[in-house]
Every structure is written in structure tokens, then in C-alpha cells.
Amino acid sequence: MRPEADRSLLLDLARPVVDRYSPGEQELFALLSEAHFADPGAYAKPERRSGPLAFGVPEVLVLLTPVALAAMTEAVRYVVELGMRKGHRVTSDALRRLFRGGRSQPKEAAPVELTAQEWAEVRRIVERVALRGGVAPDQAALIADAVVGQGRLSGEAR
């Protein structure tokens, strides 16, 4: 599968990150998601508004929704490609279960499992995308940790 094809999967995976690290975006999540899918590369081009009659606060504010969606897109792509190399069929449900746990996953979905090194790679991907989107390094690390989940990391991942 191509990760961009299953938007609901990406939304499901990105939403908890946004809720946790940028609660101010909760009400805008649907709108920002829609804008992100219309132009997936825009998150990496943060721009300060300038021009006539423009005014704003001087501090930089990074929208986390497109960054989280982009990060999850990259992470899912990595896992799908990994699964294909291993000869597995990776479904959306399997990915949901992988990233969010198996609470509500259908039993027939094939399990997808990653080694510690592979989780570490997922973490690097998420962190790299977050940094590219303008997220501060500390927060990028936290987001990456949250996506991967501390329990899945072995000691050498960090």
C-alpha cells in the first residue's frame, strides 16, 4: 500500500501526537489535515508572513498537524517497504495496531513486528521530518519518542 492512499490511517496516527503536543490545533485538525493533503510538501516551507498590512507576533509558531502527518507518512512508508522486503502484506489495520497498540484491531489482521533497530529507524525518521518542519529539537525528540513508544525501544536506540 502507499501510505498517502489511506488518509484515515494517517489521521488516526497523527491525531494523538497533535492532541498531546499542540492542543491548540485540536479544533483546526480537520482543516489543517485537508490543507496538508492538498500540498504535502508545504510543511517543510515554513514562512513568516510579510508584505503590506501584515502583522503578527514575532515568535515562531510551528503547526504540528502537517508535521505529524508528514512524519507519520514517512514512518508508514518505511514500515510498508520493510514489510514488503520481508514478504509480508502490510495492512492499515496492522499499522494501526503497530503504532497504537492492539486494543481495537481485528483479529484477522496479520501482525507486523519491528526489531529494536527498526524502531530506532522509525524514530529517526519521525525526528528528521519534525526537524525539517521547523519543530524545535527537544520537541522533535519528544514527538519521535511518543510515536515509537518508549516501551518498544531498546537501549541502543538512543
Binding site: 499542540s22 492542543p23 491548540g24 490545533e25 479544533e27 483546526l28 482543516l31 489543517l32 485537508e34 490543507a35 492538498a38 500540498d39 508545504a42 515554513p46 514562512e47 513568516r48 508572513r49 508584505g51 503590506p52 498590512l53 501584515a54 502583522f55 503578527g56 507576533v57 514575532p58 515568535e59 515562531v60 509558531l61 510551528v62 503547526l63 521547523g134
Partner: protein
Amino acid sequence: MADGIGHRAGPSTPAAYFVLLVGAVLATSVLVFFSLGFHPVNRAETIEARQAECSTAFDAHAAELARDGTLDEPGQQEALTAELRSCMRPVYATPLAAVGAGLGLLMVVALALYLTHSWWIVRRDRSRRLKPHLVPGLTEELAQLSHDIGLARALEWRLVPHGGAPSGQAFGLPGRRRVHLDAGLLVLRATDRPAFRAVVAHELAHLRNRDVDLTYLTISIWRAFLLVAVLPTVLLFATARGGTWRTPLDALTDHARTLCALVALGCSVYLLRNAVLRARERHADAAAASVGGVGTALSAILERLPPPRRWLDRWGTHPLPADRLRAIRDPTSLIRPSHWDLIVTGLPAGVLAANLSPVVGGALGLDPTLGMALLGLLIGAWLGAQLASAVWREAVAGSDARRRFPFWLASVMALSGSFLMGTQVSLTGLLGSDDDAVSTLVAGLLLTIAAVPLAAWADSAARAASAAATGGIESAGTARADGISRPGPVPRWAFPAIVATAALATGTALAIWLPYSRVRFGFSLGWGPRPADGEGWYAALGMLTTADLGPADRLVHNPLTLPALAALSLVPTVVLWSAGHRSAVQRAVLLGLGGGLGAAVVGALLPVVAPTALPVDVRQALPEPAEMGFGAVIDNATIAAGSVLVAVMMAVVVAGRGPGRPALALLAATVATLASTGAIWWVAGPVRCLTGVGLCRGALDVDGMSRTAHWVFVQGLLVAVPLVLAAAVVALRRRMAGGAPAQSDDAPTVTGHPAQWPGRLGLVMLLVVIAVVVWGTRTAAYDLWLRGSLD
């Protein structure tokens, strides 16, 4: 709150800058298109060839008329001159067409850019209309903010989902205003509500201040200017020779002066564009801070803005944070002008004057002097209006007391200096210039000196109006409480009237200055003709009272001289009168009448006393062609006496106390001029007739009386320069010595509920008399300006 200054009638700073911008763009574009209209390579050759052709035809026709003996017949020489002008006219047809087409194209492009800005911004930001219930409470909050800031019309809120920056932007066309809210701004709302409100209030303030049209028109004009005026010029310079690309060095060496002119003007336009953009930001800050709860958050945002990284940033599109904070804390700083405003006014005007004056007469098919005078009239009006506007804004801002050097005086230096500098950066070097350093220096000094009283007048008039509006005169408050005096708001007409008056006066003066500034030693003065058989004091008196006043002669035969004087004196006088300073006005009128009385006494005594001081053979000596008879000397001496009295009365007013002395001095001069004219014609005239000294004239020769009035005033003005200066020094020393203005002089003096009719009646009578006198100068003005000579 920004409204704190709104009660003062006057322009907003962005609007003033916008007017300046339009002026600079027009000046530069006219110069560019006129220059482009001439073929750049053989511009001078084309003109010279045509001049030679027309001169040959002119000489041939003149020789033919001389052979026929009809050359000196009335109107023949004028017809010849008109024929020469007509012959030269085609030379200017192409450049004029280029100016018309270029300006038209520039306006079309600017308008198109303005009309499409809204579409472009929406497309660029990929914004979408904000849905009412996207964020709970947001729509209501935005509506409340719009209401609080005073916006009556609904506007379209649009969300920019890709915009992470917590900012907004106002834009849109009339009737369809829009505000972009970046998604980041809505996120900010969740974490810092006051900051969100401050940003939105700032954008709404732009709409309330009508900044949107001004701003996007400014941007559009700038882009159209670059596209239509600058780009073709650059290409032309690069490809001027045979259509081949040349090195920049070639272009620089060949067209250094032209390039200097264009660069200077282009910089003016650019700086003015940024000045417009900066000014309206500060206005929006002040207006936004007036909304409840926004001021503190807005100040906090402004304090966090990064300081400028480069020195040049202070001339950028956004003001320095410190300036923005000052605008919030001291709204009067918003209308305070700077000398840079006047520099960017004067520079393009000077360039335009220098470049168009050699060609405007020929281009319009007029006498060259008249063409230059018309150009001077327009440019002078522009300069005078800008000077008065700047001085007015500074005066009502009330900050001049904090300056070490009066703003109005420094304004004169800035404006005249930049104007004169502009006249030196011109194309005339390519067309052949007859500039002379000494003549230029003298002309420049005269221009500067003449501008000083105008600026003082504008400052005085503005302060009088401002004080009348605020009841700022200390005693006025008490008087108001007693029901004695009622200073009201500044009349809405005060500012436009003062600016229009300054424009008229400066235009009149520059219409004379400009043609003479192009002539070597154009401002030189000379003695008048010697009286027949005159020696000693009699000869000196005769030669002095008929002195050749050079260009001042053009003020005599000029239908604008007295209207300008009347406006200069009456506009502020009406303000003073309505503010209750009626005794000061009455005193000035009485002084003027006193001057007329003095002229009557002198005019009656001279024909009687002078014969006793001169031998009969001198009195009866027949004048040679270049001499004057005794009667003419007495005539001129009487007029000169009237002029001296006019000057003395002006000096007395200036040396006195109280407000509005520059205007009241001119009022005294106006009254004294008219009264002296009456005295000369109706008292001195009959005495001369009865004593046999001079000719007997009719009592109602309007043309003659008009000429007398003009001579009395113009000579009086020249005599007044040293006298008024001395009087001003006396008044200044008295003030510096601690002599506070006497209460009785400075305070409004109206008691009870005075009838208005005496003042109005006096005003109407004065205007009627001035109108009659102006009417009387029509023949002389026609002869001098349109026919090119006086009979």
C-alpha cells in the same frame, strides 16, 4: 487613542505621503517619458537643426517685412514671434505624445494591479472562507472586535491553512474587504488570547483607517512605475547606440546627469512608498490600542519585535518598534512631519523645474517666459502646499517647543535646499545650459529668503487655529466660563484654506522666480532714470523712487499678486477673529488705515513743499528721453512714501504682541496699500492738479489705480524686508528677556454676544475693493504675460 488627534482638521500622515508619492511618480515619469520622446542619440541635434531652420525662416520673413516697411506695424512682431514658436512646435510633439501615452499606460497598469491584488493574495495564500462554527466562539469574538473598533460594514474573514505564522493581513477592494487569519493565529488564540485580539485589532484598524486602498494603490503605483517608467529607461540606456548592448560604464559616462536625475527621483519614489507603508502601520497601532484590553497586549508584542538589523531598516516598509510604541503612547507623534518629507518634495520638483523649463513654452506653443511661468505656477503651488501642510501638522502636534530650532524655519532650508539641488541634477546639461554659478547662488538665496516669511505665516496661522480649537490660550478658558469668549473647534475650512493660500502665494512667486532664475543676473536691480537737470538729493530721490526692481515688476502687472496677498492676510485673520482676537485684528486694520492717512498727508504736502526746495529751472526742465520731469518725480515719490508706510505698518505689527502677527502684518499691509492708493488718487492727485505739479487725472481710473496699488505694495514688500526683520528681532529679544505677552494683547477680547456683521461687512468691503483693483490690472497683465511686452 488615535481619535485623540482626529478633531484637528488636517491630513493624516499616510495620505500626505501618498500625495507626495503621486507627485514624485508624476515628476519622474514626465521626465522619463519626455526624455524617451526625444530620440536619445540625436536629441540635441534634432532640436538644433529645427531651431536653425526656423530661425532662417524667421529672419527671411522679418527681412521681407522690413523691405516692405511693415515690420514696425502694430502686431507684426508678435505675429513673427508666434510664427517662430509655431515652427518649433513639432519638435515637442513627439515627446509630449510620449508623456501622455506613458502616463496613461502607467495609470492603467497601476489600476490593473490594484484591482487584482485581492484575487492575487487569495490565490497566493490559498485561503478559504472562515466557516462560522469552525472554532467555537471565534466568529462572535471577531464580530465584537469589529464593532469595538468602529467598523460598520461586514467583512470577509478568510483562513490561511498553510500559514503557520501567528499573523494576519487586511486587503480587498471597496465593498469587499477581507482579512486573512493564518492558522497559526488561531492556534495562538488558544494559548494567548490577548495577543490574538491585538493582532486582529491591528488588522481591523487598517480597515477602519482606510489603509487598504492607500496601501495597495501605493504598491501598485510603485510596481507600475518600475515596469512602465524605469524598465524602458534602463533598456534604453543599455541599447542606446545602434541597438547594441553597451557596457554600464558607457551609459554612465554618456548620460551621467540623466542617470543622476533618474536615480535621485527613483530613490525619492522608493522612500516615499516606504514612508506611506510605515505611516499607516503606526496609525493602525494607535487605533488598535484604543480597543479595550488590546493596548497592553499590543505593546507587549511590539516590545518583543526584533530591533532593526541594519541602519537602512529605519527607511523600510515597517516602522521601528520604538516608533510604533511611541505612536501608541503619544498619538500626536502620528501627525508630526519630518524634514525628510520636505526633502523628497523639493527634489523631484527641482528636477522637474530644471528639465521642463527650457522646453515647456515651445512645447505648448507659448512664449518661453510664459511657459516657464506656468510651470513655476504649478510647481510653486505644489511646494507651497506641501510646506504649509508640514508646518501645519507640526504646529498642531504642538511639539515645536521641544525643538532647538523652529521646525518651520528648518523646513524652509530643507525644502528650498532640496529644490535647488534638484535643479542642478537635470538634463539641461545635454540640451545646453546657460547656468551661472553666481546667478544660481543669488537665485537660490532669494528663493530661500522668500520662503521664510511664508513658513512663518503658515506656522502662525496653524497655531492660531489650533489654539482656538483647544481653548489653549490660557485666558480663553476663564473667559469661556464667564460666558465672554467661546473658542470653537478648528473650522473645517481652515486647513485647506491655509494650504490653498500658501499654494497660491508660492505659485505666484515661483512663476516669476523660475524664468528669471534661468537668466544670467536675472535678479539684478538698477537705479531709475535721472530727473531732468536733477542733482544731489533730488536726483537720488528720483532715481531711487523709480528704481528698476527687476523681476518684481512682474508682480506689479500680475492678476495673482493681490489675491495672494488678500488670502494670506484674510484667511488667518478670520480664524483669529472667530477665536475672539478681535482687538488685534482691529488694531491691524487701524494701523493700515493710519498708513493710508500718512500717505494722504505726504501726498498733499509734497506738491506744496517740494517746489519751495527746488529752483524753478529744475522744476521746469524739459526731460530728455531717458529722464523724468518734476511731476513724475513727485508722483513716484508719493507712491514710494505709501510703500514705506506699508512697510512701517507691517514692522509695527510684527514688533507688537499677540498671536497671528505675520497674518496681521499682511492685513495691515493690505489695508495700507488700498488706503494709500485711495489717498494718492483722491487726495494727492487733486493737490498736484491744483498746484500744477503733474497731470490732472480722472478720479476713477481703475487701471491706473490698480497699477498704483500694485506698485505701493510691491515696493512696500521690498522695503519691509529689513524693517520686518528688525522688528522680529526686537520681538524675539523681548520674549527671550522674559517679557511674557501682555494679557490684554493676547487674550480674546470679545465681550457679551457681539454682532458679527461689522466684521463680515468689513471683510466683504475689502474683498470687493481688492476685486476691483485686480480687475484693473487685466490690461497690463495681458500685455506683459501674453503679448510679451508693455506698451
